[in-house]
């Protein structure tokens, strides 16, 4: 369950993803017009990946503490920067 105590963990997961994403030079926002942009940015999808992964960890109670949240955030930023384009590549729109 999401409780007041683990809302803090979600915030830590998001914050660590954002901070490492900025350090790794991911753009903060997608290019404009945003709804058509394929740019991988800090706001989208790094935060979505961080909270989605932490929700899985939190639900199944696999080490659901703030250190795990920190690690999930770090993993999300690294995944977005280096692995997402390889795992789910942008289609050839031509």
């Amino acid at each position: 369950m999401i409780t007041t105590a683990n809302v803090l963990s979600y915030l830590i997961a998001m914050a660590s993803a954002v901070i490492l994403g900025i350090i790794l030079r991911l753009p903060l926002l997608p290019d404009k017009p945003m709804r058509e942009s394929w740019t991988i940015s800090v706001i989208f999808p790094t935060i979505i990946i961080a909270i989605g992964l932490f929700a899985i960890i939190n639900y199944f109670k696999i080490y659901n503490n703030i250190y795990t949240a920190l690690l999930i955030g770090i993993f999300s930023a690294i995944f977005s920067k280096y692995l997402l384009e390889r795992a789910f590549p942008k289609p050839d729109l031509g």
Binding site: R35, F44, P45, I49, G52, I56, Y59, L84, F88, L93
Partner: protein, 167 residues
Amino acid sequence: MEIIIAIFIAFVLSWVNFVFIDIWMGLPESPGVKGAGAIGKSIEKRGGDLGGGYFSGNIVCSPDASAGTLLASCSYYAFGSPEGGLIAALFVYFGNRICADPGYAGTTGALTATVLIWATSYIGITPYNFIVGMVIAALTIQGLYHPVTSKLIGKMARKMNRKVIQE
């Protein structure tokens, strides 16, 4: 709460959630893939609106806010807590990437649906009411009569400044 009233409220909320987010994210503007374009042109040929047709085509071809709302409801129900909605948003995003879609509409739809389900749980509307409501909402757009629904979507899209930009 009486189940029929709960399903009706869930239907209205789901309809508003997915239609407004999908239009806002530009589904009526252009087809994301060739299949969506073919569906849009077929609906136009049968007397419908091209923008509304692209909207229907895009919904069929990738998980947009309609699928996001439905999957968030199912996942919320299965997990029994809002975490289900967050997990659904993550998998909707991956599903979008596989379906040649950047993923904004689906992910936003799943997250807003999660917030709606969580908020309405305090007045006795459960996630399974939302599952039924969303199926009915999708039926009204995709399953009844395309020419009328596509004209309605086209009109709403023009009001929201999301005109067809690619014929």
